[in-house]
Symmetry: C2
C-alpha cells in the first residue's frame, strides 16, 4: 500500500423523498441561490419543482441559469459565474446529471475566485475557496456528487479535460433514485458503463491496494448483477437505487485508497470522441475499453486475467474482455465506433486529435503506435 | 436499500512517516494542545516523541494528560477535561489506541460544552460542538480514528456504553502502520478480531444493503488473508498496513450505507466481560460471536449461511461458525471464556449483569433465555 489521504467531506443524503432535507441544508448556507440546470428532464422528473419548493419554503432567493448542455462547455460556466457574481449569490444549487454538477463546481469556484473557468480547469489560477455547492443528482453515472472533480470542454483549445481540487466537493448532495426512473434506456446504459469504467480506471491504476481492489470488484459486481435487471425494468426503485449508489462509490475514492493514481487512459481516448462527435461519454467508454484492454493484453495481461477471474471466473485476458463486451452489448451500449455512427473514414481525424493531445493513461502510457492500434480496433 | 446519510469529514493521513504532516495540520487549529495518552507503548513505538516534535516545531504549547487506562473510565475523562478547561487549550491531540482516542473524543466535547463526560455519554446533555481533535493511532482495532463514536465505562453505574455524535469525528487522524509493529501478538490478534466483529455487526444489522454487504465480505476477507500472515510476521509493514486500513473501514460506515442499523448484540455481551474482569475487548468478541451465532442459527440461519458461502465456501451455519472459531483460534484469540481465565462459577455474576442491562442487539433482540443459552455455551 502507498501512502494516501482519505478525505471526503460531502454530506450525501440518499433515498426516496430525501429532497425534503434540502431546504434546511440550504438555509444554513445563505439567503440567495444560483440554481443551475440544463435539459428539460429535470422538469419532467420532478427534481426541479421539488428543489424550487424547498428553497422557496425556506425563504431562499433564486437566480436561475439553465444554459448547461451535455458535454458542457466552459463558455456556459463563465456566463453563469458572471450572473452569480452580479447577483451576489450565497450558494450554487445544481439540479441534473454530471454535466450540470461538473459545470456548477467550476461556476461556484469561479464566483468565489472571480476567475475564468478555463483558468481554473487548466491550473493557471489555483482556487483557494468556493461558494458552497448543493447538488441534486438526476442521473446515476459520473460520481461527481461525492468528489471534487469536474470535466469541461473548450472549443477554442480543442480540449475536454478534467480538474480536481478539494474545494470542489459539494457541501451537500441529494440522491433520490426516484428521479432517475425516467432516464431513458440508452442513458441508463451509458451510466452503468460509466460506473464500471471508473472502477476499471482504479483497477488499472498504479500501486498495490488489495482492499481497494476488492471494493472495485464489489462495485463492478453490483453493475453486472443489477444492470441487466434494471434495463428490463427501468422504473424499479430498488434497481435504480443500487446502480445510483454503486456509481457514487465508483468515484468517491473508496477504490483509490492506497494507490498512487488511477489510469484514465480510456477516458482520455473517449473524451476525444465526445469532443468530435458529441458521442455520449458512457458510449465512448464501452467502445474504447475492450480495444484498450486488448492492446494492454499483448504486453501485460496479468491485471486483466486477475480481474476476469474475480468477476467472471474466466482464465484468459481475451475471455475477460469478451465478457465485458457481452455485458456492454447486453446493456445496449456500443462496443464498436460504427454502432455510434462513427465510420472508418474518421480514422485520420480521431488519431490526429488523439496524438495532438498525446492521449494516454497516467499509469499505462500510450504512444502513437498504441493509439493507432486501438483506434483501428474500435473502427473495425 | 433504506434511506441514509453518508457523511465522514475526518481527514485521514495514512502511511509510512505520515506524522510529518501533523504539525502543519495542528498549527491550523490553534496554539495550545491537550496531549492525551495512556500506556508506555507510545513511548516505545516512537509515536509520542514524533507527535511532541511535530507540535514543538510548529510552536504549539503542550499540556499533557497521561491517565487513560485500557477499558477507559469516565473519571479520567472528567479529570482531563478539567485540565483542558483550566489551561484554555485550542485542540486535543490523542496518541494511542481506541481507549485513548475514545476518551479524547469525550474530553474534547466536555471541554467545549463544559459538561460532565457521563452526561454526554448518556445523552443527558446533547453536544452541539467540540474542541477539534487530532488522533494519532497506534493500534489497529476499533476504527475510532474515522468515526464519531466513543465507548466508556462508569463504575458508579456498572456500565460500559457507546455514544455517537457527528461533532466527535476527529478533524485529522494519522495512521502510520509502523507504529503498530511493536504491538504484541495477543493485542494484534484482538485487533483483528475487533475489525471482523465490527464487520459482522453490520452484516447482522437491519436493512437490505447489497453493496455494503459486499464491502463487509471484502473487509473480512482482508482479515482472513492477512491476519494469519501478520501473526507469523508481526513486524511486516505491508501486513500491518492492510490490517490497519481494514480496521478503519470496518467502522467508518462504508459497511452501513443503506441499512437502518447494525446489530451490536455481541458487543453488548462482550462489554460486560470487559467490565467485570477487564477482559480485552477483542477477546470478548471472539468468545461471544460463535455462541451468539449458534443461538441465532436455531431461529434463522440464513444470514450465517450466506456469509459462510461468500467467505469460506461453506454450506451450513455450523460449518460457518466453526470456520470463524478456527480463524479466531489461529490468531490466538480465545473462543471460550475459560481461555480468558473466566470459569463456570461466574455464570450467575455474568448473567445477572447482562440481564440487569438487558444486553441485546438493536436488530436481533436477545431475551433472558437467549442470554442464558449463550453464556452457557461460552462457559463450556
Amino acid at each position: 500500500m502507498e501512502n494516501f489521504t482519505a478525505y471526503n467531506p460531502t454530506k450525501l443524503h440518499f433515498g426516496n423523498g430525501i429532497i425534503k432535507d434540502l431546504g434546511e441544508a440550504a438555509a444554513a448556507l445563505g439567503k440567495k441561490a444560483l440554481l443551475v440546470y440544463g435539459k428539460g428532464s429535470v422538469m419532467r422528473n420532478g427534481s426541479y419543482a421539488d428543489t424550487v419548493a424547498q428553497l422557496k419554503n425556506n425563504h431562499i432567493g433564486i437566480i436561475e441559469y439553465n444554459g448547461i448542455k451535455p458535454n458542457p462547455v466552459v463558455d456556459s460556466v463563465d456566463e453563469a459565474a458572471a450572473l452569480g457574481i452580479r447577483e451576489n449569490i450565497d450558494m450554487v444549487v445544481a439540479v441534473g446529471g454530471g454535466s450540470v454538477i461538473d459545470s456548477a463546481k467550476i461556476i461556484a469556484v469561479s464566483i468565489a475566485e472571480k476567475a475564468k473557468g478555463w483558468d481554473i480547469m487548466t491550473g493557471k489560477q489555483k482556487p483557494a475557496t468556493s461558494v458552497p455547492l448543493i447538488a441534486v443528482l438526476t442521473l446515476a453515472a459520473t460520481g461527481t456528487e461525492m468528489n471534487p472533480t469536474a470535466v469541461l470542454q473548450n472549443h477554442e483549445t480543442d480540449q475536454k479535460i478534467g480538474f480536481r481540487n478539494p474545494v470542489m466537493f459539494p457541501v451537500h448532495s441529494f440522491l433520490d433514485p426516484g428521479y432517475t426512473k425516467s432516464v431513458p434506456a440508452n442513458h441508463t446504459a451509458y451510466g452503468i458503463v460509466d460506473l464500471v469504467a471508473h472502477s476499471l480506471e482504479a483497477w488499472f491504476g498504479q500501486g498495490d491496494a488489495p482492499l481497494s481492489d476488492s471494493f472495485v470488484i464489489a462495485i463492478i459486481n453490483e453493475a453486472l448483477e443489477v444492470g441487466p435487471l434494471l434495463m428490463k425494468n427501468l422504473e424499479n426503485y430498488e434497481y435504480r437505487a443500487r446502480i445510483m449508489w454503486a456509481a457514487t462509490n465508483a468515484l468517491n475514492d473508496v477504490t483509490m485508497h492506497g494507490r498512487i493514481s488511477g489510469d484514465w487512459g480510456v477516458h482520455a481516448l473517449g473524451h476525444i470522441l465526445s469532443y468530435l462527435y458529441d458521442t455520449p461519454h458512457g458510449a465512448t467508454l464501452s467502445i474504447f475499453y475492450p480495444a484498450w484492454m486488448r492492446q494492454l493484453a499483448q504486453k501485460n495481461p496479468d491485471r486483466i486475467i486477475k480481474l476476469g477471474k474475480a468477476l467472471f471466473d474466466t482464465t484468459t485476458a481475451e475471455e475477460t474482455i469478451s465478457a465485458f463486451e457481452n455485458f456492454f452489448r447486453e446493456l445496449g451500449s456500443p462496443v464498436k465506433a460504427s454502432e455510434a455512427g462513427i465510420g472508418k473514414e474518421k480514422e485520420e481525424e480521431i488519431l490526429s486529435l488523439l496524438n495532438k493531445h498525446n492521449a494516454s493513461g497516467v499509469h499505462i502510457r500510450l504512444n502513437d503506435y498504441d493509439r493507432k492500434a486501438i483506434v483501428n480496433m474500435v473502427l473495425q
